[in-house]
């Protein structure tokens, strides 16, 4: 079986991360597994976990009252699930539900936050990796808002 560190190092999010930091990350990490249909977190819950998806698919959902839940994004292999653990008030904004068997590595968000505030270079390193993902998510959201395929598309 692969070591946790080698699994993390192979994930695109941690590509070329300084070995010293890699060891730090591994210190906060553990393997998790979600069955299809299992909720990983719910909107409003405290966000203290940083999930690195190894395999599977997770839907980010919102559920309007009296309506069916709507999936606004899915994340899968090689991607990460959320950044609410990094930003106050550390609450999840969406429901996250595994829609197929999903294997992930979970990093302790509280532990990461503490390490980042102690070592700003690490904080910068992590934010530099998170920011493009946040940016891409925002761009994708804008395109979804445009309703490209609508009749006025």
């Amino acid at each position: 079986m692969k070591s946790l560190e080698s699994i993390l190092a192979a994930h695109p999010f941690f590509e070329n991360l300084d070995p010293q930091y890699m060891a730090l990350m591994t210190g906060c990490a553990s393997n998790v597994r979600f069955e299809a249909g299992q909720f990983i977190h719910r909107q409003g819950e405290e966000a203290n976990s940083f999930y690195i998806i190894r395999q599977g698919k997770v839907a980010l959902e919102v559920c309007p009252p009296e309506k069916e839940p709507i999936t606004v994004q899915t994340v899968s292999d090689g991607e990460i699930l959320g950044w609410a653990w990094m930003v106050p008030p550390y609450h999840w904004q969406f429901d996250a539900q595994a829609i197929e068997l999903t294997r992930a590595i979970v990093l302790d968000g509280r532990c990461l936050r503490t390490k980042c505030s102690e070592d700003h270079a690490l904080g910068y390193e992590l934010l530099s990796r998170l920011l493009p993902i946040i940016g891409q998510g925002m761009e994708a959201t804008r395109m979804q808002l445009l309703d490209l395929y609508g009749t006025r598309g």
Binding site: T71, Q73, M143, Q144, L148
Partner: protein, 271 residues
Amino acid sequence: MTPVPHTIKKIIRETHDTFTLDLTPKDGSEPISFLPGQFNMLYAFGVGEIPISISGPAPGTRGMLHTIREVGTVTQALHKLKKGATVGLRGPFGSSWPIETSKGSDIVILAGGIGLAPLRPAIYNLLEQRDQFGNIALLYGTREPKDLLFTKEFEKWRGKLGVQTKITVDKAGSDWRGNVGVVTTSIPRVSFDPPHTIVMICGPEIMMRYSVIEMKRLGVSEDRIYITMERNMKCAVGFCGHCQFGPSFICKDGPVFRYDRIKHFFGIREI
């Protein structure tokens, strides 16, 4: 310039607002031959004429397929027609997808919404000579799962023919087990070698704009990216002037363009 009467041989209900007409010449002659990406002008009696991309023949069929989304008066009139009714057809017109010149390359096809229809003949054509191409990826996005076209064929393309397919929708209900997100987010999820890849894109102009940006970022050169343009079209033969896009007439210079040849005008407001 005069439409040729064609009989509706078959009507295929594709989605809630999209249908396919299988047309054959009324006089019993062979259906016209065409190149993938070309379009016909279809005439609904007394209502008008519109450009419709040819979406087949699918293997095993002989007629000519036109996949139509109901968005205006002519498409609505075409939708009301029954099997056996007559429509007028002029064509085929326009440029085609670069199949021959793409041999030896990886192929990435990006389709948005009804944009999959003009790409389908290209997909058939690629798959008929599958061994001539490297990796083939088909990335398809629509608004919602109910808008997806030709989903049954995706399974066939994926399975036997080794096409990497990624379907994604802008939003979905909880019964959807597939991907949610814009079509460009699927690009990193398929494998291809950017410098040796030919990209074919068809969809709303904005979707194509962002797809081109993403492909260029990954290292695909502009002369290996092909997109289709859409403008108002009346005559389809370059006489009426309506479909001009900068120096190009979409009807005869397009609808398929190599990106580097039109990039100066692509994205300019109200051009």
